[in-house]
C-alpha cells in the first residue's frame, strides 16, 4: 500500500444547529443563516494555497498540508471558533494529522474520519480537540517549544484542545458567552447536556490567566441542599 499525503484536518460542528434551524423555520426568519454567514467571514482572508476549507450545512472542514504550519493552522481554528462565538454560536470539533486524498469529487481521508471521531467522542464541550498524537509528534521530533510557545493549546485530563482565549479577547468572549446563556437560560436549564456545555465554557473562561478578577460566574453553581435560611 503506497502512502497518501498527510494533512491536518479539522472538522468543526456548530452546536445547536437543528434547534436554531427549527426556530428560524417556525418564525419564518433567517437569523441563523446570518450567524453562519457572519461567522464564516473570518475565512475570507485565509490563504487558500495553505489552508483548504469547505462548509456543508453545520460542518466546517479545514485542512492544512504542511506539517510545520501547525501553529498557523491552530491560529485559523482559534479565529474560526472566536468568530462563531462572537456571532452567538458554540463550535465543537476535532483535529488530526493523517492520510488524506482528494481528487475531483472523490475524497478518501483517514484525517477526516479521525477528526470526526474526536469531535463526536471526545470534544463533548464547546472546544476543538487536538489529537494527542499531534502533540506527541512535535514532542518526539524535538519541536515541542513550537507548540508550547504559541499558547494555542490547553490540556485537561489528557485531552488537548485549541485555546481561544488571550489577554485581548477575554472580556469580549466572557460577555458574549454570558449573553448567550442569559438570552436562553430558561431553555438551557431544561436540557442538562446543553447546560453542561455552557457551564464548561464558563469554567474554561474563569480558569484563564487572563480572567478579570472582578468578573463573576454567570451560571448557577453547585450548592448543598440544606434547610432554607441556613
Amino acid at each position: 500500500m503506497s502512502a497518501l499525503p498527510y494533512v491536518y484536518a479539522a472538522i468543526l460542528d456548530v452546536l445547536g444547529y437543528r434547534e436554531r434551524l427549527a426556530h428560524d423555520r417556525k418564525r419564518g426568519v433567517l437569523e441563523f443563516k446570518d450567524v453562519l454567514q457572519n461567522s464564516l467571514q473570518c475565512l475570507q482572508d485565509i490563504n487558500d494555497a495553505e489552508f483548504a476549507h469547505q462548509t456543508i450545512s453545520d460542518t466546517v472542514i479545514l485542512t492544512c498540508a504542511d506539517r510545520l504550519r501547525v501553529v498557523d493552522f491552530l491560529t485559523v481554528l482559534r479565529d474560526v471558533q472566536v468568530s462563531f462565538l462572537v456571532n452567538g454560536a458554540f463550535l465543537r470539533g476535532g483535529v488530526t494529522f493523517q492520510q488524506h486524498f482528494r481528487s475531483g469529487a472523490i475524497t478518501y481521508s483517514h484525517a477526516y474520519a479521525g477528526a470526526h471521531e474526536l469531535e463526536a467522542s471526545l470534544a463533548i464541550y464547546p472546544r476543538i480537540v487536538v489529537d494527542h498524537n499531534i502533540v506527541d509528534m512535535f514532542e518526539s521530533s524535538g519541536n515541542s517549544d513550537m507548540l508550547r510557545g504559541c499558547h494555542l493549546l490547553c490540556e485537561c485530563n489528557g485531552v488537548f484542545f485549541v485555546n481561544i482565549v488571550d489577554e485581548d479577547n477575554w472580556q469580549t468572549l466572557y460577555e458574549k458567552a454570558r449573553e448567550m446563556y442569559r438570552a436562553e437560560s430558561a431553555r438551557i436549564r431544561q436540557v442538562e447536556g446543553v447546560f453542561a456545555k455552557h457551564l464548561w465554557f464558563q469554567e474554561y473562561l474563569m480558569s484563564s490567566p487572563h480572567a478579570l478578577p472582578k468578573s463573576e460566574r454567570y451560571m448557577p453553581g453547585i450548592r448543598v441542599w440544606a434547610p432554607e435560611g441556613n
Partner: protein
Amino acid sequence: MAQIVAMYNNKGGVSKTTTLFNLAVFLSRGGKRVLVVDCDPQCNVTEMFFASTDLLDDPDRDLPGTSIYQALHPRFAGDTRSIDAASIQLVDSGIYPNLSILRGDLEFTMAENYFGNAWNQAITENINEKNTYVVFYRMLHTLAAVKQFDYVLCDVGPSTGAITRTVVLACDGFIVPLTPDRFCYQAVRVLGSVIRQWIERHDQITRTFTPFGIDSFPGRPLMLGAVIQNFKVHSGRVKESYVKWQNMIAEKIASDLLGPGGVDAGPHCDPKHPFVATIRDVGPLAPVAQMFGRAIFDIRQEDTKVASTTGQMYYGTVWQPWLEKMGEYQSEIEKIAKVLP
C-alpha cells in the same frame, strides 16, 4: 560505528547463547569493546556472564546494573521518547576486560506485549507506538556511541515473537547456529520467509514515519553466515548421518533462507557454502565453562576439578585433548568473528 549482531534461530537448543558468549569473549580479548545484550527473558547469557562471580548464589539478591527491562521501562510507560544512555548502568566483566553486559530480566517477557502492540499500531498515527517501535534500535545505538563499543551482540530466544522481531530487525546482521538434524532443516525452510515478512512489514511501518518527522531505522539485517555445531566425530570423521543433514540444510539455506523471498547474504556469506564455522560437540567442556563463567576456549586446568570424579584436576593425556578441543573451538569462533561486518 558499532556493529550490532544477533545469534538467531527460531529452533531452540542450537547453542545460540553459548556461541554468542564465546564470540563476545573472543572479540573482547582481541581488543574490541563488546556489549552483550540479553534480550532473552530466560536470561541464560546473563547467568553465564555472572557465573564467574558469587552473585548467583543467592537467588533473592538483585544482580548489579540495569536490566534490559528496567532500561526500556520508561518508554513502555510512555514517559519518554527514547532512552537516556546515562540512565543505564552496564556491568563490566570481572574476568574479561572490554566485555560488558546489559543484563537480562525475567520480567522482560512483558515486553512481548509492548513490542507486539507497537508492531501492530506503529503503522497508524499513534506516535507513542511509533516511539516504542524504534526505541530498541535507538537504545542500542545510543549505548554503543556513548560507551564506544565496537560490537553489540544480542542474545535472543528461540521464537518468532515481537521481542525477537524487534531485536533482529534492529541488528546489522545475524548468524544462524544450527545442528545437523531434521528439526533445523524444518526451521531453515521457514526462517527466510518469516524474516522477509518482518522486513516487508517494517518497510510499511517506516513509510508512515516520514510524514511525522520521526526517524526510523533500516531494518534490513543481513545473514552473515550459519554455524553448524554439536555434531559427533567418530575416528576423526564426521558421522555420515550428520553430513547428510548438513548438506540438506545448506541447500535449504541457499534456496529458501537466502533465495528469492528470503533475506540478503552478508559480504562474507556464500549462499552455496553458508557455513562459516563448524563446531563439533565439545562434550564436558561446555558445562565446565558455564560453571566458571569462562569461554570454552579459556577453561583453566584447575577448573577441570569439577569434571573429575576424584576432584583432582586433569593433567597429562587427559588434559591434552581438552587443550586440543579448546584450540579447535577457538579457531571456529575466530572464523565467525571474521564474517562480522
